[in-house]
């Protein structure tokens, strides 16, 4: 069973912000981290990821800067993203929103849909 992109769409920002809470990161590394954290259950598409970056940068949740990745030692520069204070508070809002959503939805979700 694959996750529906329609459903998760509203929370892509939250997911990315969570990854950025710990450390600044760049495109592929973020997508890899999302994949790892969800045990391969959610693979974010490149276009979705980039769309979220531009949107969040526009809204002031994140800011971008150019840097070289530490580990690899290549001279290839990448666009890194860093979470802003506005982003942090937006992240907290989204967390609360999700908890509420989850509470509401819990009333309508069967534990074992197969039995019905």
């Amino acid at each position: 069973m694959a996750i529906s992109s329609d459903v998760i769409r509203g929370y892509n920002d939250t997911i990315i912000l969570y990854v950025l809470l710990n450390s600044d990161s760049y495109g592929y590394e973020i997508s890899k981290e999302i994949r790892r954290l969800t045990d391969d259950k959610y693979v974010i598409k490149e276009t979705t990821l980039y769309s979220a970056f531009t949107r969040m940068e526009r809204n002031g949740y994140i800011e971008s800067f150019e840097a070289e990745p530490e580990a690899e030692g290549t001279e290839k520069r990448r666009t890194y993203y860093r979470i802003t204070d506005v982003g942090r508070s937006y992240y907290r809002e989204k967390c609360e929103e999700w908890l509420l959503t989850k509470d509401v939805m819990a009333h309508f979700i069967l534990e074992d849909p197969v039995k019905q």
């Binding site: 760049y26 495109g27 592929y28 490149e46 276009t47 979705t48 980039y50 531009t54």
Partner: protein, 700 residues
Amino acid sequence: METIRDYLNNMFSKYPSTPEILRAKNELGQMMEDKYNELIAEGKNKNEAIGTVISEFGDLDELIADLSGSGDASGAETQSQGTEGKPLAVSEPVSSIDSSAASQDVHAETQYAQNGSGQQYTDAQQSQYEQTLYPDGQQAQYGQVQYADAQQSLYGHAPYADGQAQYGQAPYADAQQSQYGQAQYGQAPYTDAQQLQYGQAQYGQPQYGQSPYADMHQSQYAQPQYAQPQYAQTQYQEPPYGDDMFEDEYSYGAFGQYGMGYDGGYQAPVQYAPCLTYEEAATIAKLGKRRAFLKAFGLLLCITCIIWPVLGDSLPWYLGGAIFRGLGALGMFASIAVGVFSFIGAGNKTKQIDAIRRGKHTPDPTTMSLIQNDWLQKSSWLQTEKALGILSCSMCILPTIITSGFHSRFMNDLGAAMLFGMVGLGVGLIVHSNSQKHTYQSLMLPMERGAYYTPDMSGKNRGAGSTMAGLAAGASVMANTAGDLIRTAKGKSATSSYIVEPFSQIDVNISRGNIELKQGDRFSLELTGPVDAPPVWGVQDGRLTIRNPENVGFYKHKKINAVITVPAGVTITDFTTRLKLGNIALKDVVIEKTNVTSDMGNVTAEGVSAGILRANSGMGNVTVKRTGATQSYLSSSMGNVKFDGVFQHLEANSSMGNIDVSTQTDISGLVPENEAILATSMGIVTVNGKKYGKSVHLPE
């Protein structure tokens, strides 16, 4: 990398080169390159890596629409001034998510340039909450799109549309994806819906009625499943029995149904040759028994015919020799004549058997198991009979040795006669045994699905009933009999190929043989096994099982080779194999859980992607190449273990062999999840060319 760059260039070719879009292209390219490089590092081949990267790229149109809606589109602002045409009714946005300032501006001032994409009569990429006339809207949500070439029209009306109409009305539509659309409760008489889910067919006409103009390619819950034609034709169709079985073909309902479920289209009935029934098989066995006797008897008479003149010539007077003297030659000819008669009789039996057998498939499974049981009971006696025959032949010289001691002409001749007698008897027994074996083998002959039996008619014309034809038949049976005589009945095996219904689990448990699992064009199976104890296999609930036949002791387990093929893109969830003697090979397959063991033989895996890979060998080598396995457990008691690929957790053991690991996986401790535990009792452990002695636990 070239391919990915080309792909990206191609995808972006239809968009203007604004700084915004170029930046997006750069960033996306970087992400794809990163992903590609990592996949290659994981051991994927070029094509796999490219495939994965492209499949995970996403929807570029959507991204560009998002970017255009960001307010950056300077061109859009200028173009959106001074629009022509009348504003249409504008509905209020339902939600404010993603409704950017720019979008709302446009909304207020112009009606034709939505979201700043900036073209009149528009080529609106994202037209939300609006009513759009004549647009080429790619995403029209909550809006009305008329005459549109809308690709995604959510909640909207899209009459005459060539788009994806969800929750909308799509009469006359060429909707490619129409979910929950009008079709659900209404009519879509001229629809050319390619994917109609939960659509018309559910409550509308086609299910119980007719859908005269619809050309539905993929319609779930729709016509194909419940409608009459398929059901009636494939499910309940009677096999057309006729006089000439050769001309008739069976149609199997079950297979037709399976096909329907698969692509929803009309599945032509699959044609089969009919199975041999139990009665027919029993008749053949009976006829085969008589044929064996007639052949053996005919041969006995032909061989022993020489006895009459020999004895007739030398019988002493007191045994009435003089009377027989003239009759010797007569006896010889009579013996031959009766022998030939027997052969003709045997030929007739063959004819009868062929008449029953012709045009038929193998016996049905129940009959097959009965025949196999019958054969197993009979085979020991037939073996004994054959042994006696061989004994009789090899002892034939004994009477001559004994009788030569009497120094009498009569005794000498008697010895010679007995020699021929014993040879005749021996040959008769051997032929009797082999001929019956041949009958059973032909009954148990494995055949490809849909194949039927064709008797070997080479050089035989049994049509005419003339004496000459009879003699010819007799001669051919004699030739045949010679075949029975020299046929090495042991170890006869046959190869059959099958196209198999899809499966996701594989369970092979056989004693001897080689097993190969590889990527191919389709789900198929090639089995080589002994004719008299063929391997038992089947697919049930998505599981392919291959076994030695039941009721056959281990000493009778012959070698079985199985080549299992699965198409690209298929993930096998579970592959379990237990083999006592033989090799196991896996090539270019994706498996979630692998557990393969060969007690005496090599285990190899090449180009495999696995979640868990367990490979064990008692007396052979375990070799893993170009493989990515999250968890690998490899062991060999007396052979070497070699791993070349990537892993997260690797355990390898060997008692008497070496362990050689070559990997790109970082086991320096940088990635805490990665771990390799390698140990050998008598060999040496090598990792990436570095020798570690008897055992090592990495990261150290």
